[in-house]
Symmetry: none
Subunit: 75 residues, 5 copies
């Protein structure tokens, strides 16, 4: 396999990584929504943890996305 | 494997990434629905978090979709 | 592997992506059903969120399906 | 396959590792949010465990990210 | 495939192993947090089990990480 071909397969694999991180972000927001419906008054106090968790997982997904986009387009 | 062939396999892998992000989006909406049936009156107040979470996960899925469509069609 | 062969493998991988998005859609409808049995009177009001969530995840699955169908039939 | 090509495929695989760790971090934050809505007053006392768990899983994801970025860009 | 190329693919696969262990560590900490919010007074007594479970799974992830880093950098 030459390097040109490998870049396209690597891009596809890295795009899967972005999708996998999406499962983690989805779980964070889903859990926040479940909790917020139980106790809506506490929502503003707890939203800070939501954004922290969202940011650190989204960062992992965006690293995978950067690898995917670089391999797909900068090849 | 030549580059033409690798693009098709990479497109298939990246399409899996779009599907994986769909699990995350599904969990967000599913949790919102579960909560909304418990406490329908709080739904308008909490829907903002739903759309935020949906947007950030869908973005990860669309990055994977862009990689998939580019590799499949722009090859 | 030549390009003709790679298209068929890529089509299979992309079809897995459509199936993965099906997990997300399934979770949305499943959660809606669980909630609707607890609180049937609220169902018409909340069904709008169901259709929105269903549509955005189905879209991710259909992108994967389009890639799969293109690679399988337009080869 | 030559070394240049293998680096790109390895980068894609390692990017999947970053995404997989994102599922773990997402579960930690999601569980913390679910619990914090049930018992908001205990949140400051328990947040220490959140940060410990977050740090050790994020570390695993960042190791995978370092391997992915090194293989993609330093090739 | 020559040995140089195989090292890079092996590094990527090993980095996936570190990420997969992260799912396990995330489930341990997430479950601990869920339980701790229900019964905060028991937390110090139960934290010993948390650290034991964390240590044995993190060890598995770090073995994968060491393999990934060695293959990527010492090649």
């Amino acid at each position: 396999m030459d390097a040109e071909a490998a870049k396209y397969i690597g891009a596809g694999l890295a795009a899967m990584g972005a999708g996998l991180a999406g499962i983690g972000v989805g779980y964070i927001f889903g859990s926040h929504l479940l909790g917020a419906f139980r106790n809506p008054d506490a929502e503003p106090r707890i939203a800070g943890r939501l954004f922290l968790g969202f940011a650190v997982v989204e960062a992992l997904g965006l690293i995978a996305a950067v690898v995917a986009l670089y391999l797909a387009f900068a090849g």
